[in-house]
Amino acid sequence: MTTWLVVAVALLWFIVIALSLAVFALTRQIGVLYERVAPAGALMVNQTIKVGDNAPEIAVETLAGSPMKIGAPGKAALVFFVAPDCPICKSLLPIFKSLSQVETDCDFILASDGDTLKEHEAYVTSNKLGGFPYVLSELLGRSYGVAKLPYAVLIRPDGKIGSMGIVNSREHLESLFEAEALGIASLQDYLNPPDPVAIYDPEEHRS
C-alpha cells in the first residue's frame, strides 16, 4: 500500500511540474503572439500626401545613370527611403532584399539624398545593393513628405499611394503590403477604427 502511495505521489509531482512548465510556456507564447500580432507598421506622420492620393510623379536618375519615373502608373513599386548614416536603415536592408524576392510583381527602389556621391556608391557596394535601382533626389523625399528615416512608400500599379510609413522592423515593412491588401491606411487607422456610432446613419435604417 505504502509503495503504491509513494509511486502515485512521485508521479503526481512529475505531472504537476510538467504542467506548470506547460502553463508558463503557453503564457510566454501568448505574449510573443501579442508582440508579433501588433499592427506595428506604418506609423504615419505624413502631412504632404495621403493614402489613396495619386503618387507624385518624379523623374529621377539612378546611381547607375539610367533615368526612371517614380509614381508613374504601370507596376507596383516600393520606394524605401534610406541614408548611409542611418543604422536602422542598414539593419532593414536584408529584410528589404528578402521581401523583394517574395513580392515579385513589385519594383523595389531605394531612395536617398544628401551626402556625396562617393558615400552612396560605397553604401551600395558594401551592402550589395547593386541589384536595386538607387536614386538620389531631394525632391523625391520632399514630394512624398518623408520626414524621418527609414521610410517606405508602396505605390499601387494604378499610380496611387497604397500604404506608407516609418518602418523600423520586418513587421513594419511587411505590414505595408499587408495594409495595402487589407485596405487599412495606417497604424492609426487600425488602432482607431471609425466610430460605429458616428457612422450610423438613421436614414439608411428607416424602412
Binding site: 504537476v16 512548465l21 501579442y34 501588433a38
Partner: protein, 188 residues
C-alpha cells in the same frame, strides 16, 4: 486528531522553508539584475516620481543594498531584520499602487528580470508574497531543519520549482494583459 497534528507539523515547515527559498531566489535575481543595470535602475526609480531627482542615485544604491541585506537576513534569520524582505515587498507594492492611482501605468516596474509595465495585479502579487514571507519567517528558520532527511529536501525543491514557475506565469500574464490593452486602446 493526532495524525492531523503530525501532518501539520510536517507540512508547515515544508511550506515555510519553500517560501523562504523562493523569496531568496527572487531577491537574489532582483538584486543582481539591479546592480548590473544600475543606471537603468536609477532611471526606473526616477520614473516612479516619488523622490526628488537629486536623491535618486542614493535611493537606488540604498534599495540595492537593502535587497542584499534582506537576502543575508533571511539566510541567517537575523532577529527583526528577517522581516526586511517582506517590508520591502510591501514598500514596492505601495510605490506601484501610488503610480497606478496616478494613472502612470506605462512606467517600467523594475521588478528584476523582464521589464514590464506596472499594474494592479503586480500590487496584489507583491502583497501576497509579502504576507507569505512574513508568515514563514515568523514560523521557522533554516536552523530548525537540520534533522530532516533527504526526501524532505526533494519535496522542498519541488515546491520551490512549481512555485517559481507559477510566479513566472503570473508575471507573463500581467505582461500579456498590458500588451493586449496596447492593441485595443483608443488613443495613440
Amino acid at each position: 486528531m493526532n495524525s492531523m497534528m503530525e501532518l501539520a507539523a510536517h507540512t508547515i515547515p515544508l511550506m515555510a522553508i519553500s517560501i523562504q527559498i523562493f523569496a531568496i531566489i527572487l531577491f537574489v535575481e532582483a538584486a543582481i539584475h539591479k546592480s548590473v543595470t544600475y543606471k537603468d535602475f536609477v532611471g526606473i526609480i526616477s520614473g516612479y516620481r516619488l523622490i526628488p531627482i537629486s536623491l535618486v542615485w542614493t535611493a537606488a544604491a540604498f534599495v540595492i543594498f537593502a535587497e542584499y541585506l534582506a537576502i543575508i537576513s533571511l539566510l541567517l534569520m537575523l532577529p527583526f531584520l528577517k522581516y526586511l524582505g517582506a517590508v520591502m515587498l510591501v514598500g514596492y507594492a505601495i510605490a506601484i499602487q501610488i503610480n497606478v492611482v496616478r494613472g502612470r501605468t506605462e512606467i517600467d516596474c523594475g521588478c528584476g528580470g523582464q521589464s514590464m509595465p506596472i499594474s494592479q495585479s503586480l500590487v496584489s502579487r507583491n502583497l501576497v508574497i509579502a504576507i507569505l514571507l512574513a508568515w514563514s519567517t515568523n514560523t521557522v528558520g533554516f536552523a530548525g531543519l537540520v534533522g530532516y532527511g533527504f526526501v524532505y529536501w526533494i519535496l522542498v525543491c519541488g515546491t520551490v520549482l512549481v512555485g517559481y514557475l507559477f510566479y513566472l506565469s503570473y508575471n507573463q500574464l500581467c505582461f500579456n494583459q498590458s500588451l493586449q490593452s496596447n492593441l485595443t486602446r483608443k488613443e495613440l
